[in-house]
Symmetry: C2
């Protein structure tokens, strides 16, 4: 995880569903465990990673691990929720600054491309969740798409987007963003991300705009 | 695999890169092994599946397995190529019948939604390839997107689509199709696929059409 990403995510939002540590020291330990887990799971995968790989990298005693997590599955699941919250924390401020429905979608895609091009491991972790923690995998996409749906419905209600735009278009846009991030942010950086963003957004904007 | 899917895919196309068996009996054995592998890997995942699970389900002797494949990794990789070819075989005839660039994209998405709603296991297998056979995983998406890119570029050259439409739009459309298939074809069949297709295609058509 980059320092920028770490600073952006308050731990109470980052690991929703887990008890939030009461002390600053506890919050730092939990953050260190999640960041170490991202690096270890991202590099070696779930099966080849041991709990001691995570605690060693985090500089945390093995006993402390069990203060926060019951098992390797448990920290993996928390990590997926944490990464989902990191994406949201990175994208949301840009979206909220945008003046209208179409520029909000452009800000969301731009923020996402920016995030994944810095956090190359996110795909390996989220995608492995399909097998290791299917509920967390579905949860990540369903909550992401729920945010997109709400944005699109609000834009349609204000008359900026076509009538009836909502959930189906939100799944379409989420898939588009995920694939563009994988191809141009992770697999190959052979194309300027600003150009990718401009081209993709033209498709979305012309596809959604009310005429 | 459904009978319909089996009949559509000639084995020489289905497992490109493998030697094509010279006899009809050999082709049937190879087909049985790949279909059994799809069911076993799809249900239990790569790690929990043994070669004997596949040969038992296929009704093929263990020795025959090694006539075609060197290892479990080897049949998994062939299966990804085979599924990729099955999608292509299912979608291509519909695309070729469509009269113009926009209706070709609609035919492609319609064919894909239809395929995945019958072949629920395809996502688990292709997605696990990201970890088990990353080259086959990338190969599946790169070859799929290359076909979409060629269609879009041809449509732009004929003046039906916006100038400059090509690879970026193709990755966007591929991601859209994959997510719509996952959500409405596999996770939940709570929405009429014809309605999903109509809504998604309106976005794509208005996004790509030359004005």
């Amino acid at each position: 995880m980059t320092d920028a990403a770490k600073q952006q995510v308050p731990i109470d939002e980052a690991v929703s569903g887990l008890p939030v540590p009461k002390t600053e020291r506890g919050r730092r330990t939990l953050r260190a465990l999640l960041d170490a887990a991202a690096l270890e799971f991202g590099a070696s995968g779930f099966h080849a990673t041991g709990i001691t790989d995570i605690t060693r990298r985090a500089g945390v005693a093995l006993g402390s691990f069990y203060t926060y997590f019951a098992s390797k599955e448990d920290i993996f699941r928390a990590l997926v929720t944490d990464l989902s919250a990191q994406v949201k924390a990175h994208v949301t401020p840009r979206v909220e600054e945008a003046p209208d429905a179409l520029s909000r979608e452009k800000a969301a895609l731009g923020g996402y491309l920016d995030f994944v091009s810095q956090q190359q491991l996110i795909y390996r972790i989220i995608d492995e969740a399909e097998f290791v923690a299917p509920d967390a995998y579905q949860g990540h996409y369903r909550s992401t798409v729920a945010r997109v749906t709400a944005r699109l419905e609000a834009g349609a209600a204000r008359g900026e987007l076509k009538e009836g735009v909502g959930e189906v278009e939100a799944w379409a846009i989420a898939g588009m963003n995920v694939f563009l991030g994988l191809r141009y942010g992770v697999w190959g950086k052979d194309r300027d991300l600003a150009e990718v963003l401009a081209r993709a957004h033209e498709l979305v904007a012309d596809g959604l705009r009310r005429r």
